[in-house]
Amino acid sequence: MEEQYRLFKNDLNKFLEILRKSYPKIIGPSLDSEEKEIFKEITNVNELKLDRTIPLKPPKEFLFPQSEELFKFSFKERKFDLKDENFFEKQVLFALRPCDLTAIKYTDTFFTSNFIDVYYSAKRENSLIIGIACEYPSNKCFCTSMGVSPVSSKGSDIFLTNGGTFFLVEFLTEKALSMREQFAGLLKEASLEDATLKNRIEKRTRSLLLEEFDLGKVGEGIERIYEKEELFRKYSDTCVMCGACTFDCPTCTCFDVSDKFLDKDSGKRYRTWDSCSFYNFSLHASGYNPRSRKVERLRQRIMHKFNYTVKQFNLWSCVGCGRCIAVCPVGINIKSIAKDLQREASNENK
């Protein structure tokens, strides 16, 4: 068990100042002008809001921005030239809950398997991830049903657990251990009963969750579940096919690439988030669209989350954060879709 330290909350400001020396940009949960939870750059510690539910816009925008320039091209004086500046700055993603940590673990695997996405990996290597145990779930959360524990530190460099007047700090990765000396002054000895702090928080948070269900067999077992259209039709009938759920999903990584002229003979190519709910997502140039009906597009999103990525990377790409339920204009509940799939999967294997 890595050693644990106590960082008292009134030292948090100093902790952040030390962090800022090597990571100038610190991003953490805060509130916007209308009291809505968002991730934004933290300039001083009182802006941090750790006692709220998770912000609806995930931290993915800091590793995989919504609009990102791939390269600039120019034809000046008949000479063709291509430049990719791959812009990134060292940043800390502070106080991420276990669901977002697991989401980042998935996007890491996704962006670096078979071909490496240099834009994502450059930002990722220059980001320090500080996780925090989750104590404020919403009634839409179902992380435990997706195998994520509310106190799991997997995927974070430094992990904090709230112990009332102090944070229990664990340094988990090389990146974190190499910085530990700088915090030496602030880290106090952890006491014996701190060892059980995490379990106490886990039990309490689990009791707060609205429901828990087991999705064991949905992943691997069932090959032909996509053929059962009526399973998805019940939800796709009312779905308005906007992109809110995929844009606010921490693990949705689909993007579109477009070009733009900046002036007469130079321009740039950039990529932007795309969504499988949009009609144009799979539209062929000939006008044929293999997923033109709503039920096919909703099925693609659900099956990709609960079945396809299990076969590709042996990982669910849904972390149970419940953001897609919160932002859905028509209140589609992905938990009931998952439970329908699971019921179908268990009948399938009987």
Binding site: E34, K57, S67, S138, N139, C242, A244, F247, T272, K294
Partner: protein, 328 residues
């Protein structure tokens, strides 16, 4: 909502439902404070209908919107039976006037609604909920931690309901009213004045700052476009066209492209916008879109004496003209 209304509506729907008809209503979503729209194709599903103070969706969006969804009126062989709140009927009436719905294939079941709860406001007051129920003017809830609580319905209603814009609908096939007296005096209690759109109050620089601050939050997820009943080009929208020579905006997400997106969308829908407020409610970034629509609505009423959804006999201003108006 008044309990008997839900029972009466279900009884009526069971009587009305015939082979390959479609009923559009609401059902429980599994999340305490969310009631989700529900498309019914077989009689036994009618029992799952639940009409309560969380039925916020404007169901008219399903009547004309999605060619590929097989629910668009002409595509569906049978009739479409819609349960609607009085404020939703304005959108349906405007769609009939724009010839988007075929009136004799539609059966409009309207029920008296005593206010819809604004879930953002509710969350600020009660926090995350395990269970919630509303009876008359009282909301009983249990928090996730098991702690119970009670608040008055009045404190968590939507602005729209507090402004009391639910008059008797212009046209309906069936209209369920709880009891007339109680409904009238409850509406009287809601005296919040109409919220003036910001354009009238602020000077131009201040307005420009507000618009830039709001629209730079936009993530172009199209939720406002897809939920809007007045925006019925469905999948052939100008924003779905490829870039030049036809497409108007770039896919890039920045202030100038977002501003152009909302300018063009606004200009396409404002004459038949009935102010249902769905675009502002569904925006995941919380952009206050209704400010723009309220401002132009006032101009339409002042200049052309037209307010969308009030009657299906008058065409919206952009579809008609009068000589000698010399507006320009």
């Amino acid at each position: 909502m008044i309990v008997e209304i839900e029972e009466n509506v279900k009884k009526l729907l069971k009587k009305l439902f015939k082979e390959n008809d479609i009923i559009i209503s609401y059902r429980n979503s599994g999340i305490p404070e969310i009631t989700t729209p529900f498309i019914i194709r077989s009689k036994n599903e009618i029992d799952y209908i639940s009409i309560d103070n969380f039925c916020v969706n404007n169901l008219s969006v399903y009547l004309s919107k999605f060619q590929q969804s097989e629910i668009r009126m002409p595509v569906n062989k049978g009739r479409v039976i819609v349960t609607a709140k009085p404020c939703d009927t304005k959108s349906i009436i405007q769609m009939i006037s724009d010839e988007q719905i075929d009136k004799d294939k539609l059966i409009l079941v309207v029920y008296e609604c005593d206010g819809i709860i604004d879930t953002k406001r509710l969350k600020r007051v009660t926090g995350e909920l395990r269970q919630i129920s509303v009876s008359d003017d009282e909301v009983n809830f249990t928090k996730l931690s098991g702690e119970d609580g009670k608040i008055s319905l009045h404190t968590v209603l939507r602005d729209k309901c507090l402004e009391g814009s639910c008059d008797v609908p212009y046209f309906f096939d069936y209209y369920f009213v709880g009891n007339e007296k109680r409904f009238k005096e409850r509406i009287k209690k809601r005296s919040r004045p109409h919220q003036l759109p910001v354009q009238n109050l602020k000077n131009k620089a201040e307005l420009k700052r507000i618009v830039e601050e709001e629209l730079s939050k936009c993530i172009r997820c199209n939720a406002c476009r897809n939920i809007c009943p007045a925006c019925f080009c469905s999948e052939r929208c100008i924003f779905d066209k490829p870039k030049l020579p036809v497409g108007f905006i770039e896919k890039e997400v920045n202030l100038s492209e977002n501003l152009l997106y909302h300018l063009i969308r606004f200009y396409h829908v404002f004459p038949n916008c009935t102010g249902c407020g769905e675009c502002e409610r569904v925006c995941p970034q919380g952009i206050k879109l209704s400010l723009f629509y309220k401002y132009i609505n006032e101009i339409l009423v002042k200049e052309f004496g037209f307010s969308a959804g009030s009657t299906d006999s008058v065409r919206q201003p952009l579809l008609s003209y009068r000589l000698g108006e010399d507006l320009v």
